[in-house]
């Protein structure tokens, strides 16, 4: 009886993870690829992250949103990836951005790109960035908001 219940629970969990995978795997792979810049490695991390999702499925109370999964993945990547490999948009400046990425990041100023990259890819807090850049937290948040507004417009176009 206990075994059947255990099996049913596992099946439910697997179905939940599968549903998250179907909805967000492509987005997550794109995000991980932007962080590690290596397709094979990105795929390995994708597997690891979904395994970790399954591991913590009952504790996290998944609502299934992309933002929740992205925040979780960012935290996991900070554990998996060593800092040397953890590059963001900064290192891409000299490279030709893919068309879709260019549409979003091409319009940003260097500072906006830096702050967005620190937050989105490195998972840095506003407080940490304000210390690094020697600026107030308010001005960092404002710049982040501007970056967002520009990217929103770029996406709509």
């Amino acid at each position: 009886m206990l075994n059947i219940d255990q099996g049913a629970l596992t099946e439910n969990k697997l179905a939940g993870v599968r549903s998250l995978y179907d909805r967000h795997a492509a987005k997550l792979l794109g995000y991980i690829f932007d962080v590690v810049k290596d397709r094979k490695l990105a795929e390995e991390y994708l597997v690891k992250i979904f395994c970790e999702v399954s591991n913590q499925f009952d504790d996290l109370g998944w609502e299934g949103s992309w933002c929740q999964l992205q925040r979780f993945a960012k935290h996991q990547l900070m554990i998996f990836v060593d800092t040397a490999k953890y590059t963001g948009l900064e290192d891409r400046e000299g490279l030709t951005l893919q068309h879709s990425r260019e549409a979003y990041f091409g319009q940003l100023t260097k500072e906006q790109k830096h702050i967005f990259s620190e937050v989105y890819y490195y998972g840095k807090t506003i407080a940490a960035i304000s210390i690094d850049l020697d600026k107030t937290e308010d001005s960092i948040r404002k710049t982040l908001k501007e970056a967002f507004a520009i990217m929103r417009k770029s996406g709509e176009n």
């Binding site: 697997l14 997550l28 794109g30 932007d34 597997v47 949103s65 933002c67 992205q70």
Partner: protein
């Protein structure tokens, strides 16, 4: 608090990207319940972030899901097996010092113990060998002394009988 200013401050963006502090997050969660404008702005931001991620999406190879499924099945099997075995968990002693106890499950024939026990058992084994060596040495020594004493006794007897004659 002016809600428009709060929305314009960039706190919502910081939260959506996961870089808001604990205090900011708590404040936002509280205000979100009170002000539908904040809830709606937050929803819009989440949609934007998702749209951006969709633009940058990379379709995973078809076999990736099977790898995930396999790994999850392995992970599910492993803890089930571990539940049957002996586990040690740290507990605090009265003085605050950590001490490890071993929980034994009678259903399992295996047990997991701390690595230190390996070294302790090796030390016990070596000490056992040393004591055994000493015991054999003293036993032989003792036997030799006893033989010498009996020889001396017999010599003494012989001497006594010779003197009497």
């Amino acid at each position: 608090m002016k809600i428009k200013e709060y929305i314009e401050s960039g706190i919502l963006e910081a939260y959506v990207l996961g870089s808001a502090s604990e205090a900011e997050t708590q404040e936002l969660m509280y205000l979100k319940e009170l002000h539908p404008q904040i809830q709606s702005a937050l929803y819009d931001l989440e949609v934007d972030i998702e749209r951006m991620a969709e633009y940058m999406a990379i379709k995973p190879p078809p076999d990736i899901w099977f790898k995930i499924e396999n790994d999850i099945s392995e992970l599910v099997k492993r803890p089930a097996a571990e539940q049957l075995s002996v586990t040690s968990r740290p507990r605090k002693e009265r003085g605050g010092r950590k001490k490890e106890y071993i929980d034994v499950d009678s259903k399992s024939s295996h047990m997991r113990v701390h690595k230190i026990w390996g070294w302790i058992l090796i030390a016990i084994f070596i000490l056992g060998k040393v004591f055994l060596g000493f015991a054999i040495f003293f036993y032989l020594e003792n036997r030799q002394i006893k033989e010498e004493i009996s020889n001396l006794k017999s010599e003494l007897k012989q001497l006594k009988t010779e003197i009497k004659r």
